[in-house]
Symmetry: C2
Subunit: 902 residues, 2 copies
């Protein structure tokens, strides 16, 4: 029979799988000799067996009895003892933190007689009866599954009758009546009495915690957080410590350093004569931690000593919960503490300088997501501005604009050059255009997986969601805050997508000093910076240098112009992984492509191509100059036909109206005929990429010629141009071979004419499932693979981002189909499996095949780890994400591992 | 050193890899002791070595010398002997037949002096000089790569000068001058003389045949036919036999049975005093084979005896080429003969009845493609109709209609109820609408991979392509035949897509007797049938019965209505593999879905759903009745939203015009707003299938309820309903689990209400790459997999059939990217690899997982073999293709193997 019950003194923090996070840390503190209220942990294994069979494992009851006997012996008190009862808490504690998801029952051991004993011993009847009242209420709700409102309504009535404002103001007599009424509720609802036997209370509470693992709420949480369903939770049974036994008692929460800024020195809150629950309930204002020092210097000194020991022991910032019971300090919980992005960087290097960890570990301690947060613009100084509300930080950044309450107004105002913030109760696909037009999005409902949040993150647009204190009145075109402030359409507000705070008026936005550091170097960023910022810059600098030294993968940027290339280089890019030549024809130059697409015969097409050559040559020359000495992967043109042509419906309407009015419309009509001819039902799956290159003779040859001539020009000027030619949307080796044949002829021709040696690698995008599946064949012809994970995600899942992200991703996230949008972070099991297959099969044929990724996932932290794992040579991402990718590539090499990075 | 040269007496027909098809069969006949002109074969290995290094393998020359010496010794004549020269032919012969792709040189051994010896020996100077002229011409063109027209122009001049109509009418003196001029051409063009040394002629000819393996034409042919490029060709060197040495000589082609009808008895053509080339050139009309019997009974008797021996030896219909040289019979070639579909079936059972083969082999001898051909409607009696031309049989069937010469007219006339045949020189994507509207398509250019052919086959529309004798005048709206007949717009023509023949006027179309056999049984089909048809019906019946007995896979049909289901059952379907519930809402019932899609709130949607329930229940009850006792796989609704809504552009134009005219347009405007809201950029990748089911609450539940209630109703009436529920477009197990949860609740509810036991398997389509890649997970929840290979092909390749088939498939086939459209026959390496992966990974988790296919590939012969190979349990296809699938499934089980079936 396995051991199902571990005394705190027997476990350690390495046993989180078996004892859960809380139990393992309680054991660790006990092992360190810290003052932890004694207790024991029932293992996750016991929970799993219970959930599988619906019954407690046979030996569990006996093991609990043994531990309980020991506990009672050690404490010299017994559960339910009418004179001096031992009270225990029963708390869940799973491997991974699931805050608020599962259940807790306090004060077990109280019953009709022991409540009197407790009152006598602590000499506080109010405390004793309030404790009993709380036990019955929690027990009814948690263990017996009764609706909470039955108890709350009765409690409210009791307060009203007594004229009490707070729970604590209820007189003892009322509490006694309340207990009686609570017991009546339980009898009425369940047909049975509230159990008076403490052991029965305990056993039922343990089972309730087991069962709480499988509530809908907990299952959904795990689906979203990608926590396996088969882990189960541990149960911690611990002697109660009371901070609410008068002025010599109290409770607090503390951090070993400031988790907000990363400044050194302890940081925390203390509340005299209170229990942990009261801190959470926010009934009274907390005092700074030093208040304990003033009241009880001895307990305070002990606490500081313990915190120092814990930090050294855990080698990291710890957060703790403690209680002082009549002068005696008890540690109730510790864990490695959460912190802000800035704090993470500062603390990591502080710990290095204190000799606690090394630089490898410091790099592992920060994340790309934190670095990205530090790089968003933020509000310069928000102190003077009215806070209107706080919501969820749905999509980071800072945005300022006039409040609008419907999509149409957002579009109209934006079109006339005004900055707007779109405010909705919640968004739906109809709001899409307004979201595109707005500078930021604010909703009063929904969380991080709501429609607004998902779509905003997809667009990289600042958003605050679920600001529930705001009453949004769409028809009235205004919103009202909790304190009655009314914001009408047109009034300026500011939203902080990183903190979730909403301000009235225009808060000045400042660029991130971290971006300044990347763009201009450390000296420039330090110039005039305050101490906290200086510390942060130095920490980022040290960590980035070490990450760069440590990483295996190179980092390139996706850049289409020389200025982008130059910026990417400053951000640390080691080349261009994706230059989209069709992007060179947006805006003013659109007509070049339009003319090419609409060419009626060979001669017209030749002319259109001839006009392109000098433009392209010039473009390429500049980019190769900006990236001199570094690889530049140029993707041959992949123009979605419809993006280069007028909208078909608009054009048809215009023609019909002109026709009806007898107006001249010859050129519109001709264009409409062409647009109709070229119309595709599914442009994403249409005549694109290599298909167009093979069907439209001369197009790819022209581009290859422009690249070759640009390279010759750079050679002539003494440069070191390193072009790589990439073919888009290849599905089979035959397509690739046809293009390589054509390209090789052009390269040889240009090389001869210019007397120049041109050795360009020619490779392919892997962005179709078929390319991944047949990668073993394709590798015979390709010098390199570059994974286009955006398109690969679309075709692997069979959905287009344009069409489905807004339409159903929030529903999919809510129902747990996705943990995260597969466009944000690579879908390891599906798309990722194809990437892995292609790399493995490609390298089986060509062992040194260079493999990289140029989809947006190249800048996503979790995805970067995956790409390192499958052995890619580089990731390529937008210039702004290059530092994130560098850091995460370093972390991946340092085996931070996928699990820690998420 | 390997043996590069094999005497015909040393090889056998098993050595086709090494000796090529022709060489192996010549060896086989020699081994059988048949009168084959002696010779030897140079192996494909020698060719491969030559092509790899550009040089002959070192020992080849010496081996050729040894064989040549033996040949000369045996024949008692020597190459180039001025008194009695030995002449040889040099012919290519690869493993797989590549008709007309490679080269031949005849009469090697003639030179300025041996030509006189030949003239003397055969006592025919005209013959000798004409032979020499032919040698130089072939040599110049084939070996020296000179343009053919140089010789042809000189030949034409010679004829003109001599007043000769045919080559044979040229007088001897003119031939002598021609030879002189031909030699001058060679000297002028190459700077060297025509080689007089016979061995030099031979060696150069051998190398030329080697090189002909790699011409562009040959490479393209191989890409299209999926023949590997690295096989190389063999070279056959054989003593010349002359059929053109007077009336006692002649040449012929014969079949051991009639290859057109399959009637027993030999069949062939004979041409006295002629060479094989002359038969091909069609200069004189051939005589029936019996003419040889009348002229030379001895040679004829020998020929019949040889043909009997060959058929018994090859156990199949053989075709042969022979020459009689002054009374002596020579066999020049044999091979298993090509035959029509009807002949294939009749001959196979004749051979069984003659004890030559068994029924297993008879089933292997016919193909599903042949059966499909027999099932198309055909022209009842075309004897009385003018043949206008003959083109390629691009897409089978028979069509009659008025000639139209542009797409627009085709659309307009078809809209007014007229049947039209669209006639174009060649088609391009602009013709698509016209092709859709037409009953058939006729082009004067392009072959089986032309745009017209590819698109017509994709649509299942009759087409004849490349009828090159027709001069199509699009502007003049008419076409002219070779003999000057003019067909104007509006005149009725008939096209036979199976034979490629084009007729003037309306030829009566009759249904296939083979379809009658399948639909009504053998007795009905035999009633009143002529002998040939009776034989055919009986042959088909015997072969189908044996195929059914032999096959492992079941065959189901895709059917959406009770009449379709009943028809499928008559055609032999063993259930329904795909019932598309959205097809139940086309036509009149479209508004039900429209109302559902446009519902503004929950109540409207509930009403729309409620209206659907009785309809669906009734539909399902009828189908379950038609398929009583057999499985019916019902796919929950997968409606492409746009197909149920009006066209956006048309609607926008209507609204704009009404608006401009001040007309009432409220309802159109509301519809337009809804259509705009629901507009998808890529409907194929949009809100479809399970996504819609999860986003539109109640839709799937309604359908499951209708199925369950229908099944209860059938149970009540004593039926045996076997519904299976299938979820469309699943990409992840999470989606499937959510639907299964919902469906299970509904099934339990209906079962309880109706007191009925309902055990429906619930499975999923595998039609997205992600479903295939994660099949191991999905199999945990799915009772069965059904591969939707249409959609899987679209997403794996990333192209939509609607958009790309017409736009670039013909270019892709021409350039060899595809051997065949991946929508016609499964792409084994890409899509097929995903199918195999899904089956293997699914069964690893659930060993008895039932797997089938319901894409159109289920009725494609080659694909059926693939599905057998990967272990599917059944294929499902359209009712009409069920017999084809049954036959091919039988052939697959009998290990006909993939290679033979293509």
């Amino acid at each position: 029979m396995p051991t199902f019950v571990y005394d705190f003194a027997r476990g350690s923090r390495d046993q989180a799988d078996l004892l859960g996070g809380k139990g393992a840390n309680l054991a660790e503190m006990t092992r360190l000799g810290l003052p932890v209220p004694p207790g024991f942990t029932i293992t996750t294994e016991a929970c799993r067996l219970y959930l599988a069979s619906g019954e407690e494992p046979p030996d569990l009851g006996a093991q609990v009895s043994i531990q309980l006997d020991r506990l009672e012996e050690r404490m010299g008190r017994r559960l339910g003892d009418p004179s001096d009862p031992l009270l225990v808490s029963v708390r869940s504690g799973a491997r991974y933190s699931m805050p608020g998801m599962m259940e807790t029952v306090l004060n077990i051991g109280l019953n009709d007689s022991s409540v009197e004993g407790l009152a006598a011993i602590v000499d506080d009847a109010h405390f004793a009866w309030d404790s009993y009242r709380r036990l019955i209420q929690m027990f009814g709700k948690t263990v017996l599954d009764l609706p909470g409102h039955l108890f709350e309504e009765r409690l409210d009535k009791s307060k009203a009758d007594a004229g009490a404002r707070l729970d604590v103001d209820i007189p003892v007599d009322s509490l006694r009546r309340l207990v009686k009424d609570y017991k009546a509720i339980i009898r009425d609802q369940t047909g049975r009495d509230f159990p008076q036997a403490p052991r029965e209370q305990l056993d039922l509470a343990i089972r309730a915690v087991f069962r709480s693992w499988n509530t809908d709420r907990a299952r959904l949480y795990r689906r979203r957080e990608r926590i396996p369903h088969d882990l189960g939770t541990a149960v911690n049974v611990q002697v109660m410590a009371f901070g609410n036994l008068g002025e010599g008692s109290g409770t607090g929460v503390a951090f070993t350093r400031d988790p907000g800024t990363g400044a050194p020195g302890v940081y925390g809150d203390y509340l005299p004569d209170a229990q942990g629950e009261d801190v959470v309930a926010g009934i009274r204002n907390t005092l700074p931690l030093t208040a304990l020092g003033e009241r009880d210097p001895e307990a305070y000194a002990e606490l500081l000593d313990i915190m120092r020991r814990l930090e050294l022991h855990y080698q990291d910032l710890c957060d703790i919960e403690f209680t002082v019971e009549r002068g005696r300090l008890w540690m109730l919980q510790t864990r490695v503490g959460k912190r802000t992005a800035a704090a993470a960087f500062r603390i990591a290097v502080q710990l290095v300088d204190e000799g606690v960890i090394d630089m490898d570990e410091a790099v592992r301690r920060v994340t790309g997501a934190q670095l990205a947060q530090l790089m968003f613009p933020r509000f310069a100084d928000d102190a003077d501005h009215d806070r209107l509300a706080r919501g969820m930080s749905a999509s980071p950044g800072a945005a300022v604009g006039e409040a609008v309450f419907d999509s149409r107004t957002a579009v109209e105002w934006a079109a006339s050059g005004r900055e707007v913030i779109l405010i909705r109760r919640e968004t739906n696909p109809d709001d899409l255009e307004g979201m595109v037009a707005a500078a930021g999005i604010l909703t009063s409902r929904g969380g991080k997986t709501s429609h607004a949040a998902v779509v905003a993150r997809g667009m990289g647009k600042t958003a605050v969601c679920g600001a529930e204190d705001l009453a949004v009145d769409t028809l009235g075109r205004q919103m009202t805050t909790a304190n009655g402030t009314v914001i009408r359409e047109g009034e300026v507000i500011s939203i902080d997508g990183t903190s979730g705070v909403v301000y009235r008026g225009s808060v000045p936005v400042m660029d991130s000093p971290v971006v300044q550091y990347f763009e201009e170097g450390v000296a420039s960023a330090l110039h005039g910076a305050d101490e906290g910022t200086s510390d942060l810059i130095k920490a980022v600098d040290r960590i980035m240098r070490h990450a760069d030294r440590s990483r295996r993968m190179l980092v390139r940027a996706n850049a289409d112009t020389a200025p982008d290339a130059a910026r990417a280089r400053r951000m640390g890019a080691e080349g261009i992984g994706l230059l989209r030549t069709e992007h060179m024809f947006l805006g003013d130059r659109k007509h070049y492509i339009e003319r090419l697409i609409l060419a009626d015969d060979i001669e017209e097409r030749r002319q259109a191509l001839d006009a392109l050559l000098p433009l392209q040559r010039e473009d390429f020359t500049r980019v190769l100059e900006a990236m001199d000495g570094l690889p530049v992967t140029i993707r041959l043109i992949d123009p979605p036909l419809h993006e280069f042509l007028p909208d078909r419906t608009e054009l048809a309407v215009r023609v019909a109206l002109a026709d009806a009015r007898g107006e001249e419309h010859e050129s519109d009509l001709r264009m409409l005929q062409a647009v109709n001819r070229l119309h595709e039902h599914n442009p994403m799956l249409g005549l694109r990429g290599v298909r167009l290159g093979l069907v439209l003779p001369g197009l790819f040859a022209l581009q290859v010629r422009a690249i070759a001539e640009a390279a010759c020009e750079r050679h002539r000027l003494g440069g070191d141009p390193r072009a790589e030619i990439m073919i888009p949307l290849v599905g089979s080796i035959q397509e690739l071979e046809l293009v390589i044949d054509e390209a090789s002829r052009v390269l040889a021709d240009v090389a001869q004419v210019h007397g120049c040696t041109l050795h360009f690698p020619i490779g392919t995008m892997i962005e179709l499932p078929r390319a991944a599946v047949t990668a073993g064949q394709i590798a015979e012809a390709a010098d390199f693979f570059s994974f286009g994970t955006n398109d690969l995600t679309q075709t692997t899942w069979g959905f287009s981002r344009d069409d489905v992200e807004a339409a159903f991703f929030s529903a999919y996230l809510d129902r747990g189909v996705f943990g995260v949008s597969p466009f944000e972070s690579i879908d390891r099991e599906g798309v990722g499996a194809l990437v892995r297959m292609a790399v493995d099969n490609g390298r089986a044929v060509r062992p040194k095949l260079k493999c990289g990724v140029c989809g947006e996932h190249g800048g996503d932290p979790d995805s970067v780890h995956f790409f390192d794992e499958v052995g890619l040579d580089y990731v390529s991402c937008s210039p702004f994400r290059v530092p994130v990718a560098r850091l995460e590539a370093g972390r991946a090499s340092l085996h931070a591992g996928a699990a820690e990075s998420r």
